[in-house]
């Protein structure tokens, strides 16, 4: 019993380390790829199915006029979904985003129309109201420890009440039809030459960045992706974007609000995946105790994320009000909240925190926007619309829960 030890302690074991073997490393990389980037494939397939179904039900679905409308419609949704994605990453929820967007719309209209604020100033005030709301809700959640569900449920009521108060007895306020704000959101389109150039530059930029990273990795003797992969992705992207642009310019073209939404999505994707701040959000969503021990200021992350989410909700409310040309007591109510959450979840953001796919808000907004748009074209009554939207959300959440369960059972 004295020295028969299971493992002789002295000899340094195992000849080569698996890490240095390039074959294993590439295998590991492929595995990450399978669970990571290509994970968006099901959404894209789903999107294609939705398009096929609605196109066969109503042939106007895919015409240029309707596609431009779709772009206009999902700008606000995509921005709001970007915000809620950040909160979902923490494993929390913000139920107040619809009300906050409505409040921001009301503030925008009241300051601009009733108080003659300059357009930009009115937008700024409305957005800052959203930031303030987020700071308040985030602080109550992080510092006092009230569950985010409850804080934001109360917020849902409170901010809707404030919205009614701000609107006052008028109830509905219209924007001047030829005013700057309406022009920005409804009649501002990217010039055709610029759209074609941007649609060509984006894949090129992607290719350039991929090749630069590849070179740095090679210099550091790390496993690299095969050369054809970024080239293939760039080519596919180039063809796809040029086709879409060509189609959209049969009608009015690419709306600036849509470009703005895409930029917001891309920026926050970069923030989440490529910065230390984003890494902290992942960590807090993955294991809060580990995040704390790693020296991350969890309270600050929580408060700042709720502030960002509310800010984006306010931006979304502003964009929506500018497109519609008015704000009323119904602004931001109804399906607004549920659509944003559905978009984030369908895009691949887990309700359990810590996981999201690339560009989830954009892909999710495309899916939800297409469904809403298609149903509208079929001129179905709102009962069917509500049932379908609710079912889509439920399906997305069920899939998320099933994926989570299989992850736990497979240790992934």
């Amino acid at each position: 019993m004295v020295d028969p030890v299971t493992e002789p302690a002295v000899p340094p074991p195992t000849p080569a380390t698996e890490l240095s073997s390039p074959k294993e490393a590439v295998g590991g990389w492929l595995q990450t790829l399978r669970t990571g980037d290509i994970g968006s494939l099901p959404i894209i397939i789903g999107l294609i199915l939705i398009v096929i179904v609605f196109q066969s039900l109503n042939p106007t679905f895919l015409n240029a006029f309707n596609l431009v409308n779709l772009c206009l419609q999902i700008a606000a949704l995509g921005i709001m979904a970007t915000g809620i994605t950040l909160v979902l990453m923490l494993g929390e929820i913000d139920l107040s985003i619809g009300s906050v967007s409505g409040l921001a719309a009301a503030v925008l209209l009241v300051t601009h129309v009733n108080h003659d604020y300059a357009p930009l100033l009115a937008v700024l005030v409305a957005v800052l109201v959203g930031t303030l709301v987020g700071l308040i809700q985030g602080s109550i959640f992080a510092k006092i420890g009230v569950p985010s569900f409850i804080v934001t449920l109360a917020g849902l009521l409170i901010w809707q009440g404030v919205q009614l108060r701000v609107l006052g007895e008028q109830g509905t306020i219209n924007l001047p039809p030829a005013g700057t704000l309406v022009r920005w959101a409804q009649f501002s389109f990217v010039p055709r030459w610029l759209a074609i150039t941007l649609a060509a530059l984006a894949p090129l930029l992607y290719l350039l960045l991929s090749l630069l990273t590849r070179r740095r990795r090679a210099a550091a003797e790390l496993p690299v992706i095969p050369l054809w992969l970024p080239i293939a992705v760039a080519v596919i992207l180039l063809v796809l974007l040029q086709l879409v642009v060509a189609k959209l310019y049969l009608d009015r073209g690419v709306p600036w609000t849509f470009v703005f939404m895409v930029l917001v999505v891309v920026f926050f994707d970069w923030l989440l995946r490529r910065t230390a701040y984003g890494r902290k959000i992942f960590a807090v969503g993955g294991n809060i105790e580990a995040a704390r021990r790693a020296g991350i200021n969890v309270d600050w992350i929580r408060i700042s994320v709720f502030a960002l989410c509310s800010t984006l909700a306010a931006v979304s409310g502003v964009v929506a009000a500018m497109r519609l040309g008015f704000a009323n007591q119904q602004s931001g109510s109804g399906e607004t909240l549920i659509n944003a959450i559905a978009a984030a979840v369908i895009g691949g953001t887990s309700l359990f925190g810590g996981r999201t796919r690339r560009y989830a808000p954009l892909l999710g907004a495309l899916v939800i926007g297409s469904i809403a748009n298609g149903l509208e074209l079929l001129s179905l009554s709102s009962d069917v619309r509500l049932i379908v939207t609710g079912t889509v959300l439920l399906a997305a959440v069920v899939i998320d829960a099933l994926v989570q369960r299989s992850r736990t059972s497979h240790g992934r």
Binding site: L19, S20, G28, Q31, A220, R274, F282, G295, I296
Partner: protein
């Protein structure tokens, strides 16, 4: 192997009380560079309390801590890390959703302009794990898909990034299979070979025998013996853990020894040999 040198970490007369409970009384502990000290004892013997006292989670009430020849007061985990004392807790502080690189560098990410320097972090992670001969299939795998031993490897490797002098490991082999345990034990030896002082807390005599150079036994919050691993049998260690040596005969021997050493001021504080 530690004879004649200054200990990197020396604790003298450390006591800690929680309300009515005297968790530690007058405990001494020396850790030398390049050795593994096993800290053993039954449940409630004060192992975890002692670790928390070392790593700054709950500083001791009385007693002195000398680190690298300088008397220090470790008031917070951060202060301990600054000194060069790294701790790997029993419940691994890893984020399942992040990959190995991101876990290793969590809270101390390398930047390149505004964004993260993933390439450099991955290179350094690979280098560190290779130096430790750690078996991780890929540093880009999420930690959730690793085995218990691999996760423990990541947790221990992570503590090394701060370039510590002393590493505290709290039950690193608990809940691990045989092969995984061997993997972690190999890693512990490699820490020692790098010249680190390692404090290993364990319940498992086999593991202790496999890697430790010295064994310090705690019993009911007191030092209850310190042994060189090659000069002691398992039975002796277990006897010290359970207190089986504390019978009338041994107490009498201890008392006589204390009396005869009464003139010697150096021996006055010795608590070794039982309560």
């Amino acid at each position: 192997m530690s004879g004649g040198r200054e200990p990197i970490l020396a604790m003298r007369g450390v006591s800690k009380r929680f309300g009515a409970v005297q968790a530690l009384s007058d405990v001494d502990l020396d850790v030398y560079a390049g050795e593994v000290v096993a800290l053993v004892g039954d449940n409630g013997a004060g192992k975890s309390t002692l670790v928390k006292a070392i790593c700054g989670v709950s500083p001791p009430d009385t007693g002195t801590v000398t680190f690298a020849g300088r008397e220090v007061r470790v008031e917070s985990p951060h202060a301990a890390q600054e000194l060069g004392i790294a701790t790997v807790f029993q419940d691994l502080a890893l984020c399942d959703n992040l990959d190995v690189v991101n876990n290793l560098f969590l809270g101390r990410e390398l930047r390149r302009g505004a964004s993260l320097d993933e390439v450099e972090m991955e290179r350094r992670s690979g280098k560190l794990l290779r130096e430790l001969a750690a078996r991780i299939p890929s540093v880009r795998l999420p930690v959730a898909s690793l085995s218990g031993g691999q996760r423990q490897t990541v947790a221990i490797s992570r503590s090394l990034l701060g370039d510590p002098k002393v590493v505290l490991l709290d039950e690193p082999t608990a809940a691990l299979g045989v092969a995984q345990t061997a993997q972690v034990l190999n890693l512990i030896e490699r820490l020692r070979d790098r010249g680190l002082g390692v404090v290993l807390i364990s319940h498992n005599m086999v593991d202790v025998r496999a890697v430790a150079d010295r064994v310090v036994v705690l019993r009911l919050g007191r030092s209850n013996g310190e042994f060189r691993i090659h000069e002691v049998t398992n039975e002796q260690i277990i006897a010290a853990i359970t207190g089986a040596t504390q019978n009338v005969v041994s107490e009498r021997v201890a008392r006589l020894r204390e009396q005869s050493a009464g003139d010697d001021p150096l021996a006055a504080g010795s608590a070794e040999g039982g309560a």
